[in-house]
């Protein structure tokens, strides 16, 4: 299991740790993280990548819409020299193929497929066969396959589904005068498995 994010500044508070004690992403499985824009999906993704490269693993990011910001990643603690970045120019089909190649190639600790900016209609058109193929490819490997999107689409192929939403935006200073964007408070709910025993992470970036 992979620890999602642990750190002094970027902390995850596990509300019900007994239901999900390891608080991480399962290896050899497909994990979905979904939520709307500015909900904190990218922060969660970068935290996972920082943890993986911190353990000297090599990460791969399949960036469907070329939205990755290396400066943000470096600031989040991602060692960029341990990251393979594949830019797919807005083509979700290419992103799927690239993720498949990376998982089949093996040796990556974390493979992230970022479909967060892919239109929902396009993401919905991804066939279940493709998701099954990805799930089968990552099975029995030490790789964590993380898919970031706006809505969950992998359905039964995902072993873990997390919904991310923003609780509030943290501003400081006087509005209209010296206001400063401090960060966002992010809430993570587990939707699968066992939605009844869902766990909430309170991810706060300040």
């Amino acid at each position: 299991m992979l620890a999602v994010a642990l750190g002094r500044e970027f902390q995850f508070r596990i509300n019900r740790a007994e239901a999900w004690p390891s608080g991480g992403f399962p290896q050899g499985c497909l994990t979905e993280v979904f939520g709307p824009a500015s909900s904190g999906r990218t922060s969660l993704m970068l935290a996972a990548m920082a943890q993986a490269v911190g353990r000297e693993e090599v990460c791969a990011l399949v960036d469907s819409s070329d939205a990755f910001d290396p400066a943000s990643a470096a600031a989040a603690g991602v060692a960029l020299e341990r990251l393979l970045w594949v830019r797919c120019g807005g083509n979700a089909e290419r992103a799927l193929k690239a993720a498949d190649l990376l998982v089949q190639g093996g040796g990556f600790g974390l493979v992230v497929m970022d479909l967060a900016d892919t239109p929902i209609e396009t993401a919905r058109r991804i066939s279940m066969t493709s998701w099954f193929r990805l799930r089968r490819a990552v099975e029995h490997t030490p790789t964590v396959l993380l898919v970031v999107e706006q809505q969950p689409h992998a359905k039964t192929c995902a072993s873990l589904t997390l919904e991310v939403r923003r609780e509030r935006v943290a501003w400081s200073g006087t509005p209209g005068c010296s206001q400063l964007l401090r960060g966002i408070r992010v809430h993570v709910d587990r939707r699968k498995p066992a939605p009844a025993a869902a766990i909430s992470f309170d991810a706060r970036w300040l």
Binding site: A5, L6, G7, R8, E9, F10, P36, A37, S38, S39, G40, T42, S43, L46, A50, Q51, G54, E56, E57, V58, D66, A67, F68, D69, P70, A71, S72, A75, A76, G77, A79, L80, E81, R82, L83, L84, W85, V86, R87, C88, N91, R94, K97, A98, L101, L102, G105, G106, G107, F108, G109, A116, P142, V169, Q179, L180, L181, G183, I184, W205
Partner: protein, 420 residues
Amino acid sequence: MFAAIHGDGDAEKLLKLAQEFSPWVERTTADTVALDVDGLERIYGLPQEIAAALARRAAECRLKASVAIAANLDAAVHAARGFAGVSVIPHGDEAKFLGSLPLTLLEPTPEMRETLERWGIRRFRDLAALPELGLAERLGPQGLRLYQLARGAGDRLLVPVDEPLHFAEETELEYPVELLEPLAFVLARLLHSLCARLTSRGLAIAGLRLRLLLENRGEHARALRFPVPMLDASVFLKLLHLDLSANPPPAPVMRVWLEAEPAKPRAAQSGLFIPISPEPEKLELTLARLKSLVGDENVGSPALLDTHRLGAFQMLDRPRPLAPAQRAPTPRPLAASASLRAIRPPRPARVQMASGHPVHVQAEGVRGHVVSSAGPWRTSGDWWTTDPWARDEWDVALSDGALYRIYCEQGRWFVEGSYD
């Protein structure tokens, strides 16, 4: 057992001829080469047959050469230089066999030669018949050496030619090949041959150079460099196939030339507690496949540039494995930072301002009233270059629920990305 070939042709041809039979070849003089033929009896049989094979091959190469075989290296060399045709010197009969040769073959110094001539010594047998002790007293170590050579009892070791390693294979096709699949068969044969040659020398391949001679008399050249030396013909074939798929030759291929750059093989010791990382061969193949899928410039490892310009980065070829000395024992602590999702290129926007603050933002896919904003953050840089930049940045929360970074540069507004 040693063989010597003496010819009056091209010295390089003699050398190549000898190298066809043995890897241990000495360039004795400009017109004579010697080679170690131990083990060749398993292929050719008796020494006479080895000598005959050498002579036959020399004739095929149109070289006028004399061949000699002996248990002693110098005896073989002198016999090849002194007798025409094929000579096989039986072990122990060297002195008798070489007896009729003139002393000039031993290349004595002028003084020594004059002395020996005054003594009436003109042939090997004359010198070999002299008493060894007396000769050593009168002519010293040099005379003793000539005496040993004349008796065919020299103890010199073969000094093999240290030729620069060159691994290349080529083939001419019977008919022009247009498709990649049949060309792959040809490449596979050349690669297997190259890999076998390198394996026999304990080497691996650090790079491949492919040259295709085309039907229109043009040439199509490709070069592949590998981050670590590898020796897997199937991986090379896949990489060449992917490269040629992305950069196909413009005309049918008539001739294929493939050269390998040799390197010492990679020695890696894996361990139970070493973090997982892609195997170099598989990573190379995966990168090649990804590049053929999304393009060369879209695959790599990002690296930040030493500038304050936002969004400035470069793409390196591949992730760099950390050297053991670089490895940190504990993971790096996470630092607080804004996570921006970039919009590339920045999207032009229309921004309404009121009291110096943005109140409405509209761009492709972005539209809403500004709920809250922070800024402006005035930044500039590179004013000393031809590409300066200066802009006012704003962080805005829109009514659509998202947080954006917008900026104004030279009176034009752009949406740079969203905070996520």
